[in-house]
Symmetry: C2
Amino acid sequence: MTPLKNDLLLRALRGEPVPRPPVWMMRQAGRYLPQFRALRERYDFFTRVETPELAAEITLQPIDLMGVDAAIIFSDILVIPQALGITVTMDEGKGPRLSPVIRTPDDLAHLAMPDVADRLSYVYQALRLTQSGLAGRVPLIGFAGAPWTLLAYMVEGQGSKDYARAKAFLYQYPEAAHRLLTTITDLTVAYLNHQLRAGADLVQVFDSWAGLLSPADFATYSLPYLARLVAEVEGPVILFARGAWHSLPELAATGASALGVGSELTPAFARRQTEGSTTLQGNLDPALLYAPIPTIVRETRAMVEAFGAQRYIANLGHGILPDVPVDHARAFIETVQSYG
Amino acid sequence: MTPLKNDLLLRALRGEPVPRPPVWMMRQAGRYLPQFRALRERYDFFTRVETPELAAEITLQPIDLMGVDAAIIFSDILVIPQALGITVTMDEGKGPRLSPVIRTPDDLAHLAMPDVADRLSYVYQALRLTQSGLAGRVPLIGFAGAPWTLLAYMVEGQGSKDYARAKAFLYQYPEAAHRLLTTITDLTVAYLNHQLRAGADLVQVFDSWAGLLSPADFATYSLPYLARLVAEVEGPVILFARGAWHSLPELAATGASALGVGSELTPAFARRQTEGSTTLQGNLDPALLYAPIPTIVRETRAMVEAFGAQRYIANLGHGILPDVPVDHARAFIETVQSYG
């Protein structure tokens, strides 16, 4: 492997001193880039995900165009439900549809038990191609969805405002819920370890719907599985349990290399809850990139000051919005990169 | 006025000792009740809202059927945008549509400056009819939307996952945003005071989208207007800034009679943040009413224990879900009412 020219992210994850924080953006390979939109017009969503050459090209776009300090593989968290035998269609702009859905414990019997080494080989191939295209410029991030978030999609069959049906499944069938969460965790450990072997330098776990669980339910139905992922994955893990601000001490105790934090909390709160012992990632409100550039620069600086430059990875609090002007996103990145 | 037979809610709001906490449910007049669904089939949404006899009948249903300790007038927070001259249509199941939307400061010039005494007289008439139907059984709650939440609807024109466009309006046009928030606040003060004069014993302010603002933006664009409402409304106010867990001390400092808390925080956290000095209302996860009844009973008891029976109003953390079985909702209410 080529030695990394820019290893700021890996140093921040290890808690080593850095001259400035690394910066990347969730969904940085996304619709705000004209070059992404061009590919999107020619290939549908899962063609882009499942064709390693396309996934690698999309992954590299923000490195070439925006100069971010990390690449994150273009893929989707729903490849794990797909591997379990569920059909996922992506209605562009409307989100995913899964079928059949899980509604009773009996439905679990119909799930396939895949070998993710084989079933998701296109992801590993995309990682290898991306590493070759990166040529050591920046680290490459692999990722997966958290078990609770994937269960939520598998029960609801689509996005939902409150995921009430998914929560009802937990309350009505706690034993079956834990069984499904365990299966997803098993597969995800294997999947993330294959990603690391294929060239990912680290991985991020997205618990996008963590905040829809009460603190008690998060402790029961999500946290133990996140802890297992951190323990069993053989590389650095960033845990982003979106909305689970109440459980930052417990998330830090998993030993994750970093915790993602959303825009709903102040940097001071996040530092206080983790006693400064954990690398934190976040958390500019993605909607702030609609603000005039001087506002973006001011708010980004204030964020970096508040987190501090060490043990910190600058990012948005959630994915970049599809219609943000490119020069606004660039102002965010350049403000972090000119820090110090 | 008839003296109240059950004044538990008013005593809890004043911080006076109670033998057990009062209990009501947000959206308690709602689709989970067959009697509500029967009226819903015959009259469309705004007919129900604007016909005082229907609104009063719907308001009384959960008092007669469920035995809750408070009534809340059947109405909608969007009557204030309507009074400003915006057309609101309700696509049942899909949520509201507002037109025209506010997108630039120039759009504010087209807003009507109504006299809410006259324009919203149907609400006051519904309150008077409801008081007569209640005959002093329980207190009657009036309500309004918070300024930020109403601005969010007026800019987006409909519900939204992230209200990014509404936030963009704040960042791009802060002066116009404050002007609109001030106008909404002025009207809402008058509106709530008319509700109190028409028979509401107290009012609740719903800041449903508070949690979509960062703590800093909440402090700038929502909190000062909530504080003005509390200061200028001539009766007890419950503030429910949904998702603004980070600002509980500041919300308590407004002097509100009670603060609503959502299911995303523990009772212990809410008590700690408000130093036990404020009456709190909440916060059972509405999805828990899908659980088997013994689970509902156990979780409701645990919630009351954790908040404590004093300075506490039992409620859900958000509105009751449309397809909850009636006997499950009743188990929640009866568990609170049999406390102690």
